[in-house]
């Protein structure tokens, strides 16, 4: 399937994709985001795609994850700026503040401890997938285990670091 085939699948599933974006919290921006998705499939020529609808779903999901990440970072910067100066400002610094450096170090220590608690294989699988960015199936092959074992290990590792982060944020 080439990109014109992808376009056809996009058009046939336009409403589904729009609903998917809304279900991920796109709100009023859903139409704009759908348009962005359309632009992306046109400007990024693609190789043969085994299952085009999955491909479009994934692109939409990534688009929403990117958007939430950007919003969250902006909120965080604003919050830190407000805390540091006692008032909001447009003049934001991208440089890490001393406080942010301390927080990052504390989080790194927490993540390390949390990973140590889940066992060696789960910790290594987490690193391979999340730090080295290796796809889950490839990780499974590397470790000689099934994909569901990789999923199970990732659930364990994610759970441990999320719990650590929540305890930290509450403290």
């Amino acid at each position: 399937m080439d990109s014109s085939g992808l376009e056809a699948v996009f058009l046939a599933n336009r409403d589904t994709l729009l609903r998917f974006l809304r279900s991920l919290g796109a709100g009023d921006a859903a139409e704009d985001l759908l348009h962005e998705l359309w632009m992306r499939i046109q400007t990024a020529p693609t190789g043969p795609i085994a299952s085009p609808l999955s491909y479009l779903y994934r692109m939409a999901n990534n688009l929403m994850l990117d958007r939430h990440r950007a919003v969250r970072q902006a909120e965080k910067r604003d919050r830190e700026w407000t805390e540091a100066t006692g008032g909001p400002s447009l003049d934001r610094s991208e440089e890490p503040s001393a406080e942010r450096v301390v927080i990052a170090r504390e989080q790194a220590a927490l993540a390390e401890t949390a990973l140590q608690s889940v066992g060696d294989r789960a910790a290594r699988i987490f690193r391979r997938h999340r730090i080295d960015g290796i796809e889950q199936r490839t990780v499974a092959a590397e470790f000689g285990v099934s994909l569901s074992t990789v999923e199970g290990d990732l659930r364990k590792a994610y759970r441990a670091i999320i719990d650590a982060k929540r305890r930290y944020d509450e403290a």
Binding site: P45, R69, E112, I134, R137, I161
Partner: protein
């Protein structure tokens, strides 16, 4: 509380599953999101939390997992035990064939060509490390350095290179990949390569290259004739920084050459024949428009005068 924990557990499951490129049960995920508006918020919050924590984990200095070949110890056989144990060994062999990654590494100043079982070849530059797999000649991971892949194409089983967390999938190809200082560069001299199919989905064709800096891919034009020319001891550049040139020369010559901050960002276009530089790196100075001096145990490029 119980309901809250329920959502939390379901969210975790979806975060894990949608994190795989192989995931295809999107309609079920969609239905879960639509079932309760809290689900989307939980999904995004958890994804972001994991990302933030993962980003804080320092990269490990030790080499990545290498599954070792287990030692085969042959027991002392006694008569009928062979037949009795046969079934056991069939199972054992099957387990052995899953994945056998191994590393191939070159020292700075060295070059090496690896011939793969499928007829493909990989030329490795200096200070380069590749992970290959004995049982799957169609995958390679470039951990650092530079390598030129000349790949025998197979539509049903495309050759795949992992680099800097991204995937390159060949579409009938010769291409060069470089991964140094956190940046990835790709240059295609024949055929085409797909960068991160399924996510970024960028197809690079002959004469195109890609620069990935801070996770952002930018498509560039490259001179086909100079792709992989380092194999003939010629480094070719079009608007590269001197910092990058210094890095390449270090790997090609087996020396430690650095660009000092006053010249590191200066652009350079042109070709450098490295053969004669091994004996005296200072010879590259006039071509690069810098002075090269020995300082302590390494060489430094700096402003002339």
């Amino acid at each position: 509380m119980a309901e809250h924990d329920d959502i939390d557990a379901q969210t975790l499951d979806w975060v894990v599953r949608t994190g795989s490129d192989a995931f295809d049960d999107w309609p079920a995920f969609h239905a879960w999101l639509e079932a309760d508006p809290r689900h989307a918020a939980a999904y995004h919050a958890m994804s972001a939390d994991i990302e933030e924590m993962a980003a804080s984990v320092p990269a490990e200095s030790v080499a990545p997992v290498v599954v070792p070949m287990p030692k085969r110890r042959w027991p002392v056989w006694t008569g009928g035990a062979i037949a009795a144990s046969l079934a056991f060994f069939v199972g054992y062999e099957a387990m052995e064939t899953r994945a056998h990654p191994y590393a191939v590494e070159t020292a700075a100043g060295a070059m090496r060509t690896v011939q793969l079982a499928d007829g493909s070849s990989i030329a490795m530059g200096g200070a380069t490390r590749l992970m290959l797999d004995r049982d799957d000649p169609r995958i390679a991971t470039l951990e650092r350095g530079e390598a030129m892949f000349v790949v025998r194409h197979d539509d049903r089983d495309p050759f795949e290179v992992s680099v800097g967390g991204a995937r390159l999938v060949d579409v009938g190809t010769a291409f060069d990949v470089k991964h140094v200082r956190g940046e990835t560069r790709v240059a295609v001299s024949e055929g085409a390569v797909d960068y991160n199919p399924g996510r970024d989905g960028i197809r690079l064709v002959k004469g195109q290259g890609l620069l990935v800096r801070d996770g952002k891919p930018t498509v560039t034009a490259v001179d086909v004739a100079s792709v992989g020319s380092w194999r003939d001891s010629v480094l070719a550049y079009e608007g590269a920084t001197l910092a990058e040139v210094a890095d390449d020369l270090s790997r090609a010559l087996g020396i430690d050459l650095r660009a000092d901050p006053t010249v590191a960002k200066r652009p350079f276009s042109g070709s450098i024949a490295t053969a004669k530089l091994a004996s005296d790196p200072r010879l590259a100075g006039p071509l690069l428009g810098v002075a090269i001096r020995k300082r302590g145990g390494h060489w430094v490029m700096s402003s002339r005068s």
